[in-house]
Point group: C2
Chain length 298, copies 2
């Protein structure tokens, strides 16, 4: 089924009938297709399930194209990003093309489905701005961080599960709860991996978030647990490209302060809430998605 | 009615409940609201006319935010562009927010209307890429130029008129023909004004298109009319910031080759086709829009 999604994505792009766009699209890394997997599992019986999955993945790909420009990210999933290969402007324009073509296809689906997805895309765009604004200075405002990662990451995962349920006429609430918690956990796991993994495993620079001004959950927890002197030390490393000894200090304090284990426990708790929500829906395979995601190498 | 459109646009933006977005939005120049005017004239009786007009203008504003990043434009309508004031990244993110919020609101309108507008936005995004690709080198391919300006400029004006007719259940074909020809004429008039007006009147640098690699209709006609020696001279000025004597040469040849008058005649012919299309629809005021647009100072 996922191959059908890839094929449908290529067909949607090809329907623009522009050789340059097709060729650029071939260079967009495809990723895990998490959102498509959810949609296929929840709405597998519906003739439009593949189409919805393809639309959501095109929109997600568009958002990543713009994210990489905003974050000056030169690699994505271990390969050169589109902005690195063809420049920021091409990445912006290709993103706009995939966004708008995705929206066009979305308008042919039921209005409830279209509204669910498009609402999430508005939140996602807002979340990207909030992420950048938050990165202007160090902060220790967990509520704002929670809102930002909900908008930036969880909203489209929540919407994927909800829209798939709407497509097949299932009560959508448990699926939305599942998707929201899965999405939040997903972002927190990503934030943890930035600290625990090396660059090669990540396919992007390691320990990069804090250097970019992103005060993620492990840093929020760590700051909370540190004494005054160590708080000042942490603040002095905000937005800094770290020396090996500074990186070692962060690693050590992440462990000794309990920030890492607390973050992992939080991600697991969110995963548990996702599992609880879909326990009685009888849809197979959704639990595995959560378990695999939580069990990515910390 | 246009004030109601402005108010509705602000309300849509405000519904995102983010102070930074509201404040950035205040800095977006509002322009002529051509698309809103068409929608209000055609669908004035419909309760959703103002909403449709607001959505289309938000989407149009989003496209201009991204255009200004792509074109490195530092002024827009005589004031500093958002990218000039707040940087490219903020302009990209604000554009994404206005696009996606506009699409979300669009999904609540009838599916035919939503498809008409979203199809045009896909063409518009494609047109921007084609414009940039064409600017890589001098070309004299009028068919490609026609296709590009249709996508980039005319498609959303065509869609505005068509969607307004769809909203009120009028046969939409004459309105689409009207909008398409109006949009094509609009772009060609813009291309002419780049040559005939000074920077102050334009609110942006004059004689800028060819310096930016944009071989617009007057240049296509001029190239066609020049002898071999002058053709070579024109080619040598492609993509060049012009000296006063080079600018004077372009101005002279634009007149003596007949390229300018031929371009003006073409814009007028398109305007006439727009007028012919809506002659019998009985919708008042659409003719004035064409006449005012064609009669902008050459």
């Amino acid at each position: 089924m996922l191959e059908l999604v890839e094929k449908t994505m290529r067909e949607i792009v090809a329907s623009l009938d522009d050789a340059r766009v097709c060729s650029l699209y071939e260079g967009v890394p495809s990723g895990k297709r998490l959102r498509a997997k959810l949609i296929l599992k929840i709405a597998s019986t519906h003739p439009d399930a593949v189409k919805l999955a393809a639309i959501v993945e095109l929109i997600h790909a568009a958002s990543l194209l713009h994210d990489d420009v905003i974050d000056d990210a030169l690699t994505r999933r271990g390969v050169d990003s589109i902005n690195a290969r063809f420049g920021n402007k091409t990445a912006i324009m290709l993103g706009d093309i995939l966004y708008s073509k995705g929206f066009f296809e979305l308008c042919a689906l039921p209005s409830s489905v279209a509204q669910t997805i498009s609402n999430a895309v508005a939140l996602l765009s807002l979340g990207e701005l909030q992420d950048v604004e938050l990165a202007q200075r160090f902060h220790h405002d967990k509520a704002t961080y929670d809102q930002m990662i909900y908008n930036k990451t969880a909203s489209l995962i929540e919407a994927s599960a909800k829209a798939a349920a709407q497509l097949v006429g299932k009560p959508w609430e448990p699926f939305a709860t599942y998707g929201r918690n899965l999405g939040l956990a997903f972002q927190i796991v990503d934030d943890i991996l930035d600290i625990t993994q090396d660059s090669q495993t990540l396919g992007k620079p390691a320990l990069n978030d804090f250097a970019e001004g992103k005060t993620t959950l492990p840093y929020l927890y760590m700051y909370e647990a540190l004494n005054t002197e160590d708080k000042a030390m942490l603040l002095s490393l905000f937005g800094v490209v770290l020396s090996p000894s500074q990186a070692a200090w962060i690693h050590e304090k992440m462990h000794t302060s309990g920030a890492l284990s607390r973050s992992i426990a939080h991600a697991k708790r969110l995963g548990k809430e996702a599992l609880d929500a879909i326990g009685e829906t009888g849809v197979e395979g959704l639990d595995k998605v959560v378990i695999q995601m939580i069990e990515r190498e910390f």
